[in-house]
């Protein structure tokens, strides 16, 4: 396999996302990079992967191009099963979703995410400094998908000790069995993919841990760009750069119009 020399930051995220997904599983996908990652996985190692969209489409072949909304007409053409939001979330709550991709404006060391507001909480909830769109389906996926994969651009301002608001609960305060005690289902955050590397959550403490560094990054450079102390896996490795074939598939087959994966060279 030839290594790509001109892959972009988004392309390595997509490749990482694809590799984490397993064949023949159901993945609850949002618009954007998660969708590109799921399609790349289908074209490479996971032809039996089944995408589910929260507006109600289950298992569409996505032959009419990339959807620009999770309720896009393109997600319904050729789908195996079609309902609405209650249908999609009931499937998830029941345990049909093995993986879910979620994101947010802020993440903490336990994989809790914020997509609601910035500012003091609870004082300024009703008049926040910055109002974000809100949960959408993220908090439902966080509560009920079996394992969640978080995608967050890596920036010191986004990786914080304390969040303004916990929209999508991850491992909560990290205490053993915290999710179970709160009544939640699923194993919670499984991996975090950022612009700098891939992270998991250490089994005992449920704290975010560096697993792989992306090319050009080190444990130190990643820690320097993180607002809390990261754990480091005993065998941190460098994540292999995307191959020319993976990059070709993204550019020519999955997202030929550059709808989500921008064409700026790294």
């Amino acid at each position: 396999m030839t290594v790509s020399t001109d892959y972009t930051a988004q392309e390595i995220i997509v490749v990482a996302g694809a590799k984490i997904l397993e064949d023949n599983k159901i993945v609850f996908v949002g618009t954007g990079l998660p969708m590109v990652a799921s399609l790349l996985a289908i074209l490479t190692h996971a032809p039996g992967l089944i995408p589910v969209f929260e507006a109600g489409a289950v298992g569409p072949p996505l032959k009419r191009g990339l959807p620009i909304s999770v309720g896009d007409s393109k997600t319904f053409t050729g789908a195996s099963y079609v309902k609405g939001l209650n249908g999609a979330f009931e499937l998830t709550q029941r345990g049909f979703a093995d993986f879910g991709f979620i994101g947010g404006a802020e993440v903490d060391m336990y994989g809790n995410l914020n997509s609601t507001m910035m500012g003091d909480f609870p004082e300024s909830y009703s008049k926040p400094k910055v109002r974000l769109p809100g949960s959408g389906g993220a908090s439902d996926m966080a509560a009920s998908c079996d394992r969640t994969i978080l995608i967050v651009p890596h920036d010191k301002k986004k990786f914080n000790e304390k969040l303004s608001y916990v929209t999508s609960p991850g491992h909560l305060d990290g205490t053993p069995g915290a999710r179970q005690k709160a009544g939640m289902q699923g194993k919670g955050p499984y991996r975090v993919i950022t612009t700098r590397g891939i992270f998991d959550f250490e089994e005992k403490t449920k704290r975010m841990r560096i697993l792989h560094t992306f090319p050009g990054e080190t444990v130190e450079s990643i820690q320097a760009n993180t607002g809390f102390e990261l754990l480091v896996a005993p065998d941190v490795t460098q994540f292999a750069p995307p191959t020319t074939e993976e990059v070709r598939l993204i550019r020519e087959v999955v997202d030929p119009n550059g709808a989500f994966v921008k064409r700026v060279a790294k």
């Binding site: 909304s69 309720g71 979330f89 008049k127 509560a143 929209t167 009544g183």
Partner: protein
């Protein structure tokens, strides 16, 4: 039991919702009327309004235009994820607060996915101009479902953990059967539901294509429902496969034939998004978040809503080529013989 915000009903209470249906004329009568008549008869000051569709798909855009023309007062808007409907209603409040006002919003998400954030949401929230209550997509959908089922609440697995339970009327109880914590959400029974569908007959039977969103639940939970449709068809055609009927006629009070009724959003089998129009509208409001002038937005409302008689007049302002292109794009999305 963990007590959160004090319980109160922001639409109809479950008893009031039941009473409203008991007293309603449920006969199979011709409910066709103009948008003007539908809005003036069924949208009242102080109403809780359930908004159908999902983000910029099948939003009741034409109904919102008419509501803005007529003016509205102290509304509560209830929806899961919405884009153009609250953007238009909220934008009207920015330019004509004397004529259009929203008191409260119960929501999961207000933005436009790939087309951008909502500047109106930021403007109203960051200035403390409205009350709001955050939920999730499933929470709002389940709340409408509880309303549609005639129940006062519904148990769900979210919000548990996190802050949504702390800023909403969620109650967490220990499940009486498993002993584990479970969330209880209050039903949502709007005074009026606003729904745009692909096809309806004159009685209000509706067929929906693509995402069902939460439209059937909203229609069944609301005391009244206004339906706009792309295609007005015969009763015989709509019931040729009765299981296709997503919303049954007794739940509907007004049927209005409005082609392009969700435009510039998308409507499966009819037209794809006009992303330029959505982005263009947002661009008029975005500078106002940072204190910019409202002149451009005012001019937009004057030209496209206050300055015209009907939604058809607004649609007429788009170049025919663009309307055809958006129809063609949708034909490609779901290729079929006519």
């Amino acid at each position: 039991m963990e007590t959160n915000a004090k319980m109160f009903w922001t639409g109809l209470s479950p008893d009031e919702a039941r009473e409203a249906l008991v007293n309603k004329d449920k006969s199979k009568k011709d409910k066709r009327m103009t948008l003007k008549e539908a809005v003036s008869r069924f949208v009242k000051p102080g109403d809780n309004v359930g908004i159908g569709g999902f983000v910029d798909i099948r939003q009741p855009v034409a109904i919102c235009h008419e509501m803005i023309r007529q003016g509205f007062k102290d509304l509560t808007l209830s929806f899961q994820s919405a884009g153009m409907a609250p953007e238009l209603l909220g934008g009207a409040m920015l330019v004509r607060p004397d004529h259009c006002s929203i008191k409260r919003i119960e929501l999961a998400y207000w933005a436009h996915e790939a087309f951008g954030l909502s500047p109106t949401w930021r403007y109203l929230a960051e200035r403390g101009m409205i009350e709001f209550e955050d939920w999730s997509n499933y929470n709002m959908s389940a709340r409408f479902k509880a309303g549609a089922m005639g129940l006062p609440f519904i148990p769900t697995r979210s919000p548990l953990g996190g802050d949504i339970k702390n800023t909403s009327r969620t109650k967490i109880i220990d499940c009486p059967f498993t002993g584990r914590p479970i969330a209880l959400l209050p039903a949502s029974n709007p005074n009026v539901g606003l729904i745009h569908v692909q096809a309806a007959d004159m009685y209000g039977n509706c067929i929906i294509r693509g995402t069902d969103a939460t439209c059937a639940e909203i229609a069944m939970a609301s005391a009244h429902t206004i339906v706009t449709c792309e295609q007005l068809v015969s009763h015989e055609l709509i019931t040729s496969n009765p299981k296709d009927v997503m919303i049954p006629f007794p739940a509907v009070d007004a049927v209005v034939h409005v082609p392009f009724g969700a435009y510039p959003g998308a409507c499966r089998r009819h037209y794809y998004f006009n992303g330029d129009a959505i982005r263009g509208f947002l661009a008029l409001i975005a500078p106002m978040v940072k204190g910019g002038s409202a002149d451009a937005l005012k001019a937009w409302y004057d030209e496209n809503i206050f300055g015209v008689e009907s939604f058809e007049d607004y649609i007429e302002k788009f170049p025919t080529k663009k309307l055809l292109a958006d129809q063609l794009a949708e034909n490609y999305n779901c290729e079929r013989l006519a």
